[in-house]
């Protein structure tokens, strides 16, 4: 079953906040539920990472799973990121289905070789004799004063790596469905969990369902301007779309959901329809996701475009610690709203 993204926009029928919390499931809980269902489904699955067992991980995503599945299948490790991913790769080569947690995405640099030179290439370089059905979950993104080593958007580090899948949910419903799809997949998935989204809530179906990898969703339909976004940029784009609507601009928001391989069909169709495109991206501009999308859209929708693709990105800096500075560096919904206006001029 595929479930459409729950729209964060509040309506008159949305229950009050108190009740809301009782009925709705957080992004973190949705992920936890997905892991629980997958552990039940796949005997060959295990969880591995730092402080994920008793403690349930830095963000509580694996909470309670040790008690239910035991220490063989919920494994704490020392600070050995390369060994964690290597262990997943080797186990996957013999048919296991490991799910690793790398505490903060920034630390992926410690196992970059394992991901890029081993995991991503296993299937290709050995002529399809091995698959790498593993998932690397990791907490990415800024906006909480985490500083230069706990805030980065790392999808760009992997955009140029054939063989890896990058899943990037923007809401609890997709978080659960994409994680279950990632665990089912025979390809290795880098699963990005934006830290600012962990507390977002939605009505999440309790049962097992998957959200297909490689398929974007239309988070909001519109006629005049397309905004392409992922993760935290999606709620920001939806907010900016509201602002634009007040000015009479109808905005379509495409939620990529998978960054690699991304759903070019949906992106290009929306771009062709509106003829005006904004791509929103938290990471620095140069060589990032926005650059790829902008180039692709310009190349393939040139005849339908009414103006240049407008990019919204993070500034070309590391992420500073001080929150006022971080707010300058990271893009927000106001930046997207300005970009929508700029695109709408054409």
């Amino acid at each position: 079953m595929t479930v459409a993204a729950d729209k964060p926009r509040r309506t008159a029928r949305t229950p009050r906040k108190g009740k809301d919390r009782v009925r709705k499931t957080s992004f973190t809980q949705a992920l936890n539920g997905a892991l629980d269902l997958a552990m039940e489904k796949h005997d060959e699955m295990f969880l591995i990472g730092e402080d994920i067992a008793e403690m349930g991980g830095d963000f509580g995503v694996t909470k309670g799973l040790l008690a239910k599945y035991g220490a063989e299948r919920v494994r704490d490790t020392p600070l050995s990121e390369a060994a964690i991913i290597g262990t997943c790769a080797g186990a996957a080569m013999v048919g296991m289905r490991p799910v690793a947690e790398i505490m903060f995405a920034d630390f992926i640099a410690e196992c970059y070789d394992q991901v890029v030179n081993n995991v991503a290439k296993l299937h290709y370089m050995f002529d399809g004799q091995f698959t790498a059905p593993l998932v690397i979950r990791t907490a990415c993104g800024g906006g909480f004063g985490g500083g230069p080593h706990h805030s980065q958007s790392i999808e760009g580090w992997f955009l140029n790596v054939p063989g890896i899948v990058i899943a990037a949910p923007s809401n609890p419903v997709d978080a659960k469905g994409l994680l279950l799809a990632s665990i089912d997949s025979d390809d290795p998935v880098l699963f990005l969990e934006h830290k600012a989204l962990y507390r977002s809530r939605a009505e999440v179906p309790p049962e097992y369902y998957t959200t297909p990898l490689g398929k974007a969703s239309i988070a909001r339909e519109g006629r005049d301007v397309t905004v392409v976004a992922a993760m935290r940029m999606v709620p920001m784009a939806l907010e900016a779309a509201e602002t634009a609507a007040a000015d009479g601009i109808s905005v379509e928001v495409v939620d990529l959901r998978t960054i690699r391989p991304y759903d070019a069909t949906t992106v290009l169709a929306s771009a062709s329809k509106t003829g005006r495109v904004v791509v929103a991206n938290e990471a620095p501009r140069i060589g990032g996701l926005g650059a790829e999308l902008s180039a692709r859209i310009s190349e393939e929708c040139f005849a339908q475009l009414r103006g240049p693709v407008v990019r919204v990105d993070g500034l070309d800096t590391p992420i500073p610690f001080s929150v006022p500075l971080e707010n300058i560096v990271l893009p927000d919904s106001d930046n997207i709203a300005v970009a929508i206006k700029a695109a709408a001029q054409y």
Binding site: A83, G86, G90, Q129, D187
Partner: protein
């Protein structure tokens, strides 16, 4: 060790030497693309390892392991020529020519493939071992590494994790004295790599890697202990590679002479066999047979077609197609 076992290992060592020498000749003639690292001089270590690894085990070969790869393929698959074809980049190779010298794999014979980022499979081997342990299988996961790998972080992460989890890993460290041009004693805190294994509390043994009887006995003992659930084992083989560096020979003349003329593992094994009554004619016949076999493999490789062009974009993902140009 009984004489027939020794004779079998002698044949294996010749198979490795003939393979590498045939390959060197073809490489020099421009028939083999890429880079070439040979296992010449290390035949005893390699034959000893290959002899004890079953098709149900998993080994990660290093960049000098064409010989082990070929022996595993020959013994467990009956098609050693597919390793040769892989090195020629042909369709009949074990990876259809997509892997080459540094990435030949065939899990059906226990070969889990080299990773040309030296030592990276020190991490990967943990997962294969963990899976065996979780499933209660008596399989050994073996990482064959050079002394140079000791400098990698993954070497240490691996020993630590194998130790805390009691994983069935056989570490086979081929200490041939140098990493390209870096002498082992200058590159590492100790020239005796077993000292590091001791620090991690891992059972270990230092072995004369040019003495086939000693090497074979040590591997058999280590593999037996691992299979019976005693956890990881670290073997350090003291040996020497005949190949210098790409630019040529850099090691002192006396050292080269000593290892090539007095410590040649095949010569030492021939002497041991002669003491047990083997005739020179018998030993010559073993050499000749293996050389003939290798020439057949080389012909097979040369006669094989190039890979299907569709292979260039095949298998990037299991679940997606990648567009051709």
């Amino acid at each position: 060790m009984d004489t027939s076992t020794l004779k079998g290992l002698y044949r294996d060592m010749w198979l490795i030497r003939a393979f590498e020498q045939g390959l060197e000749r073809e490489f020099e003639q421009g028939n083999v693309p890429g880079m070439l690292h040979t296992g010449l001089g290390q035949e005893a270590t390699q034959a000893a390892l290959a002899a004890h690894l079953e098709a149900t085990d998993a080994f990660f070969p290093d960049h000098r392991c064409h010989g082990i790869n070929a022996l595993a393929q020959h013994r467990h698959g009956g098609n050693g020529e597919r390793i040769m074809a892989e090195l020629f980049g042909r369709a009949t190779g074990v990876c259809s020519g997509k892997g080459g010298s540094l990435h030949s794999a065939d899990p059906t014979v226990g070969n889990f493939g080299d990773n040309a980022v030296e030592g990276s499979y020190m991490a990967t081997v943990l997962g294969v071992a963990l899976a065996a342990k979780m499933r209660g299988e008596p399989n050994v996961a073996c990482a064959i590494i050079g002394d140079g790998t000791v400098g990698r972080g993954e070497f240490h992460e691996s020993l630590n994790m194998a130790a805390i989890w009691d994983l069935p890993v056989l570490y086979a460290c081929v200490n041939n004295g140098y990493a390209i041009s870096m002498p082992v004693g200058e590159g590492h805190a100790t020239a005796d790599i077993v000292e590091l294994a001791k620090g991690y509390g891992i059972a270990n043994q230092q072995v004369d890697g040019n003495d086939i009887v000693e090497a074979w006995t040590a591997v058999g003992d280590a593999v037996g202990r691992i299979r019976s659930g005693e956890g990881p084992y670290f073997l350090e083989f003291k040996t020497w590679r005949w190949q210098g560096i790409f630019a040529g020979e850099f090691r002192p003349e006396a050292e080269v002479k000593y290892w090539r003329e007095e410590r040649d593992p095949i010569m030492l094994a021939a002497e041991a066999l002669a003491k047990r009554g083997a005739t020179p004619a018998e030993l010559d016949a073993i050499e000749a047979e293996t050389r003939d076999l290798i020439e057949e493999w080389i012909s097979f490789a040369k006669d094989s077609p190039a890979p299907d062009p569709a292979k260039a974009t095949a298998d990037v993902y299991a679940g997606w197609e990648v567009a051709a140009r």
